[in-house]
Symmetry: C2
Subunit: 478 residues, 2 copies
Amino acid sequence: MSDNPRSHHMNIEDFRRNGREAIDWIADYHRKVESLPVLSRVRPGEIRAALPPDPPAEGESFEAMLRDVEEIILPGLTHWQSPNFFAFFPSNTSGPSILGELLSAGLAVQGMMWTTSPACTELETHVLDWLVGMLGLPEKFLSTGKGGGVIQDTASSASLCALLAARERATSGASNEIGCDGRLTAYTSAQAHSSIEKAVKIAGIGRANLRAIEVDSNFAMRPDALAEAIARDRREGKVPCFVCATVGTTSSNAIDPVRAIGEICRDAGVWLHVDAAMSGTAALCPEFRWIQDGLEFADSYCFNPHKWMFTNFDCDCFYVVDRAPLIEALSILPEYLRNQASASGAVIDYRDWHVPLGRRFRALKLWFVIRHFGVEGLRAEVRRHIDLGQTFARWVSEDPRFELPAPAPLNLVCFRLRSGDGQNQALLDRLNASGDLYLTHTRLDGRLTLRISIGQAHTEFRHVEKAWARIREEADNL
Amino acid sequence: MSDNPRSHHMNIEDFRRNGREAIDWIADYHRKVESLPVLSRVRPGEIRAALPPDPPAEGESFEAMLRDVEEIILPGLTHWQSPNFFAFFPSNTSGPSILGELLSAGLAVQGMMWTTSPACTELETHVLDWLVGMLGLPEKFLSTGKGGGVIQDTASSASLCALLAARERATSGASNEIGCDGRLTAYTSAQAHSSIEKAVKIAGIGRANLRAIEVDSNFAMRPDALAEAIARDRREGKVPCFVCATVGTTSSNAIDPVRAIGEICRDAGVWLHVDAAMSGTAALCPEFRWIQDGLEFADSYCFNPHKWMFTNFDCDCFYVVDRAPLIEALSILPEYLRNQASASGAVIDYRDWHVPLGRRFRALKLWFVIRHFGVEGLRAEVRRHIDLGQTFARWVSEDPRFELPAPAPLNLVCFRLRSGDGQNQALLDRLNASGDLYLTHTRLDGRLTLRISIGQAHTEFRHVEKAWARIREEADNL
């Protein structure tokens, strides 16, 4: 913004006026989002066709942009902030988070190193230490010891960084120095997130060296199968380096037995990463901390406040017990980044904790969220969602046409008609086409299964009740 | 936000009021930022010490948070938005960009696939196609052919993705399938950004397989040395797969000869990535497009609107000529992400174009910036900065105590006292400690060299004039 009348920048007083309009537009959007079709109905290419083929030569007014957002963009959105959004995992925002992101964009500092904005680094370290206590994580994840936490963009990136640190440790640095040699192997459950396969490809380990470990009848990793796979690979000259256990799989919210897996990893000297992307938030409540039993055996851990903790994307919290191999794997130090504070060793330079060099001030929104809700406020919202999930599961169990093919320990319920894939696909398509709600699917035991993921910030009893009514109604019509 | 009085979420009317306060706070910050010491003066640990050891049990008011931002956070910031910020490369924001980011946080859609918000994907594709024309890039980077553009967080990530696509192509997919085997080699200039070394480590290629190619007297890559290095590696059984040329190095803004490098890469069948992170923006002006002469030989290209094009971090634009190897390298398709639109092949799913799965609506702020300034407005700002850079270089050349150790083709000027490293270090330390401006350094020909990077959005003639006056004044006092 500028006061200089010759500048092409937005005038400061115009910014105040335009900013108020933008704030009001968001408030109005949140008030009406419930009434919009959840899944966008546009056809491929429709949005592009509405946009001018060339950029404007001269500047346009903010009013024109906001009008286009309303008229062109809005119909092309799938409304993740609708209380009728039950697809995938939630990806929430909230008032304090939006305002934290706004201030971050306004300050626009780069937190790549401590010296380039000390508060950006120190607030992040502080809030991530807060979360260790809030979630009941092992104290060895605190930054005050050898470990610590950092904000990553996503759990995909966190898992990649965990794998890189594991690779560094398993090869004593050789994988970073002379490259991978095709001997490293990694392990995760056959139900785990695709991000592990992606990480294994990126890291040059190769997906043929990722073992998809069998699951039990609850779709959780079988520790005995893991132990066998590690032993088999060792016998064949492989170098097992990384296990990812999942606390709440995307597919069915299966909770891998972290303790049993952790004991195996400890005995085998293999890095254990625990991915609790959505479900980790449940650990805010002491009564749900059983999901992470055994976490003291983990070398790294992540969960995403941008899923279920009302902090807008991107905000994944990633912790390591020992930051040394992570930093070894990712550190680079050209002359132009050298500075006294870094050289002193007294500060954290987060650029060495993830893939990008630059980083924005994401701790601000997370700090605002925690302060706005307070720990008790966050717990209340989480308990409310889990309660809704349990209620929905009970309704399904009471309708003889439906079955629950997997346990529903928290807020995600897998369900399906007993009448087969065709009927379930038709049910899903009709529901999503109606715009009344948005569900996605998975496959369990080879069969098409619908998922209802209840964690959108503003989903209340009435939305879940209506969703179940619509599901039964469409099932009646099949 | 919520209207429900039992909810812990911010009330919608409170959001409007708090949002106006946040907007005004940003406007006030931008008005006063020029008067603040540019480099933060806090000592390590000082910010943390001012924060409460435990998170609040109950929620707090937005007023309390905003007060803490002012009183605790602000002194801990290094002000990248100060017109007296001349360090590193700029990392700009602007009114339209802040408001675009605000709307993105308010809508909080996930653009991981076309179907999860078609407008998020299509606006991004459209604006990146606009930029092909705006920058005079080769048309083969347009999405309408086999290539296309995508927003990445940083040039570090873009370079990594380019390397992964190159690795995929060079090994016909084997590196992704069975892993790297220590034979792949990569090439960049000895003056190139550390991100290439980081990418080579991450990708399992190993930094011993990265060749730092000699530079000429202008600190630009020597094509003959590159050709020799590739030939030598071939003879020794290595598999050359990736060259990164830099258009505007971080160290001294050296412009690698893209055409000569490109011809070598074409003949050798090696992937050429061109990193124009800051300087790419200069190509908005036809008279500066010589910097990218030969870009038609490149397989991929990136530049960062979040540096010099007034778009707040993060926003790197990454282009490929052929999207197939990129997608092959990064694609994963679990059941829960399958959908009709993706299966039809008629849409782009950007999740396969980068490391993370999730992605926020970053195209919105880029669209707002281009529309607010218009192409001519952006050109005028870029010309203004380059003109200031040239003026500064002339001043330096006219003072016999100083020398210009490298060409200053655009807006970054390297300079130093002729009297040696000790004097230059003292000069740098005194200037930065004064708070009046912030400069960083590099080493050229083994000697400490100061850099003045003129690209902060609001830097005007008077700021550069004052910077030069302060530099001479401190030089007088040494």
